[in-house]
């Protein structure tokens, strides 16, 4: 078994106990309720290299005006360019040393782990644990780009952990450009991000995931928000063998706005699983969730959207929508909205739909001279455009749109 080699690893006490927790559970299988459609059992068949020293480098395909770029290549992180004033990049131990109060907050964090054994695995073995720290009132003008790239010649697990900390009134646009080489050997990319957004702070976070077929990417993005903070989150799952996104919002303040936008276009032999949690723990906040999927070939999609409205969270507005188009009769979509509401004065709504392209619309377009493939491409792009259009960076919007079109055209054989 792949995990056999883990038993021999010796770690400091805390990391060792995380590893022990992982070993006790192993990789999730479809017998686990939260992994019903997304078994990772087959990861057991690969002899993973747990600590790769292979080099990998690739320039981001994005051409954007950025403040600076953080590169992660096969789990090794380097900073390129100068950090904007008021932003620090440092390791976690150093950060805690400078913010002793945070150690307690961090220790008391209470993520909903939902049978997430890979969080423990990351906790034990992450090759780096870095922090991006935006100081009080600092408004970073240009986005900070994080290019995360993996390519290996021996099957390897790549695991990093990143903390993003926005102090009171800070503003940041963060772009996660996640990718792996199409001709890489198997990669288990296990990525944890823990994000703190303090009072009055505003984070825009755009995550693009564009991996090779041999990559299994498990993403854990846990965001904690304080009073009057805003987070606009985007997750674009464009390519990859298996992508599981665990996106959690912990609403720990009042008048908080949490926007969750997602788009996925899995193709042949690909699976995208979006597991989202919005945990309203305080009153008077608002969350808006909009997910759209186009499922190509024989792909599988999973959407599980949990919304908790705790007893104290009166006057919460929580909205959730997940809409899907099955572009082929071999594609499957599994949707499960889960609302648990303990407060009585709230507005919550949810809706999921899964359908096919309208024959009427296709005929209408073809009757005007548009080929069947072009008509389908136009309709599918139009279907997801609503999510792409919310991104306010034109070059990024265009890059995402082009990649979605290319993927659809490839699936249609254009």
């Amino acid at each position: 078994m792949a995990t056999d080699t883990l038993v021999t690893i010796s770690l400091p006490k805390e990391k060792q106990s995380a590893l022990d927790r992982f070993l006790a559970n192993g990789f999730p299988t479809n017998k686990w309720e939260e992994w019903k459609y997304t078994s990772l059992k087959s990861l057991n068949d690969t002899d993973w290299h747990w600590n790769t020293s292979e080099e990998a480098s690739l320039d981001s395909i994005l051409t954007l005006e950025t403040a600076c770029t953080l590169h992660t290549s096969n789990g090794k992180m380097t900073l390129e360019g100068l950090l904007p004033a008021g932003v620090a990049y440092l390791d976690f131990a150093n950060f805690v040393h400078q913010n002793p109060d945070f150690a307690k907050v961090f220790a008391q964090r209470n993520p909903i782990l939902d049978q997430n054994s890979l969080y423990d695995l990351n906790d034990a073995l992450a090759s780096s644990h870095q922090v991006i720290w935006v100081k009080k009132g600092v408004k970073v003008e240009f986005p900070i780009l994080h290019t995360y790239f993996a390519s290996v010649s021996i099957s390897s697990a790549i695991q990093i952990k990143l903390l993003i900390y926005l102090e009171e009134g800070a503003q940041l646009t963060w772009i996660d450009d996640l990718a792996s080489s199409v001709d890489s050997q198997a990669i288990l990319s296990n990525y944890v991000q823990e994000i703190w957004v303090a009072k009055d702070a505003h984070l825009t976070f755009v995550k693009t995931q564009d991996f090779g077929q041999m990559t299994t990417h498990i993403d854990h993005t846990f965001i904690s928000q304080q009073d009057h903070s805003v987070v606009d989150m985007f997750t674009f799952s464009l390519n990859g063998g298996l992508i599981r996104n665990n996106l959690h919002f912990y609403v720990d303040g009042q008048q908080v706005i949490s926007n969750l936008n997602g788009l996925y276009v899995p193709g042949n032999d690909q699976l995208v699983d979006s597991h989202t949690v919005v945990d309203h723990r305080m009153p008077n906040s608002e969350s808006n969730e909009l997910y759209k999927g186009v499922l190509l070939g024989n792909s599988t999609g999973v959407f599980n959207g949990k919304i908790f409205v705790r007893p104290d969270a009166q006057k919460t507005n929580a909205f959730q929508s997940c809409k899907n188009v099955l572009a082929s009769d071999k594609a499957t979509m599994n949707t499960k909205p889960q609302l648990e509401i303990w407060a009585d004065d709230v507005k919550c709504s949810h809706g999921t739909t899964t359908g096919q392209l309208s024959d009427e619309a296709l005929f209408y377009m073809r009757s005007r001279g548009i080929s069947e493939e072009a008509a389908k491409t136009l309709l599918m792009l139009a279907f997801v455009q609503q999510v792409i259009d919310k991104v306010e960076i034109p070059a990024l919007k265009e890059s995402i749109s082009n990649r979605v079109v290319a993927k659809i055209q490839q699936a249609l054989g254009v």
Partner: protein
């Protein structure tokens, strides 16, 4: 231009067209009239290539080509245009983007260079005048939330842009008030030329006050049972369809 011979078509087990014969020449306007359920819209749909219908017999030749053998998009590229009775709403696709795709796909089919943004702008401006349509309508999602009149005007705008050789107007008058009807009809009339032809499918005579036909055909139970000139339409308006139907030996 168009030659329909012994056309039979069905949907599921139900035979709807039962031997249509029709000749349309360049420069002509033909009206197809008939009571509900006579097969008027089916004929329009079969000519445009709607796949719900199965052609079981007969031929349709368009400038010598077997029209029935062509995909809907190829028919459009050859010069057939169907103005829909119920134009489809397409969220997220603007009329201008839709028309740009259509024009350039058709140009590709014909081996012509695609038009660029400037050329489109010029053409759209010119065609918008035909149907008195506003730019803001063309930037909105196609037909989404349009009124009945706006939808039909949009159809005629599309027709103006594509400049078909054969335009088939399927119940274009349905859902239109008299002012909208006049605007739409004026657009159609402006687009008429000695080189193109129009088939107007309608239940009522009133559209024919504005788009004057050279020939009127009465469709009943999937066949053309009577043909005449525009006077026939006036007679139908006055006397209804019964006098024709009762004279038939089925």
């Amino acid at each position: 231009m168009l030659s329909i011979a012994n056309l039979h078509a069905r949907i599921g087990e139900k035979e709807i067209l039962r031997g249509i014969n029709l000749e349309v020449k360049a420069g002509e306007v033909h009206a197809i009239m008939g009571p509900n359920g006579s097969g008027k819209s089916t004929l329009a749909s079969v000519l445009a290539g709607r796949e719900d219908y199965e052609v079981t017999d007969g031929t349709v030749s368009f400038f010598g080509k077997d029209l029935l053998d062509l995909a809907p998009e190829a028919r459009a590229a050859e010069g057939v245009f169907l103005a829909f009775q119920y134009p489809v709403e397409i969220p997220g696709v603007s009329t201008t983007n839709f028309m740009k795709s259509a024009v350039n796909e058709i140009r590709k089919y014909r081996g012509e260079e695609p038009l660029d943004a400037v050329q489109f702008l010029k053409m759209f401006k010119e065609k918008m005048a035909y149907v008195n349509i506003d730019q803001s309508l063309l930037s909105r999602s196609l037909n989404e939330g349009f009124s009945g009149g706006e939808k039909k005007r949009n159809e005629i705008f599309q027709m103006a842009v594509l400049a078909p050789k054969l335009a088939i107007l399927d119940e274009t008058d349905s859902g239109l008030d008299i002012d909208a009807l006049r605007i739409v009809a004026e657009g159609v009339n402006k687009l008429k030329s000695p080189d193109n032809a129009t088939i107007v499918v309608t239940h009522y005579q009133r559209l024919l006050d504005y788009i004057v036909p050279d020939f009127v055909h009465v469709l009943y139970k999937g066949r053309i049972v009577k043909s005449g000139t525009k006077e026939l339409a006036l007679e139908l308006e006055e006397k209804g369809y019964d006098w024709i139907i009762s004279a038939l030996v089925d």
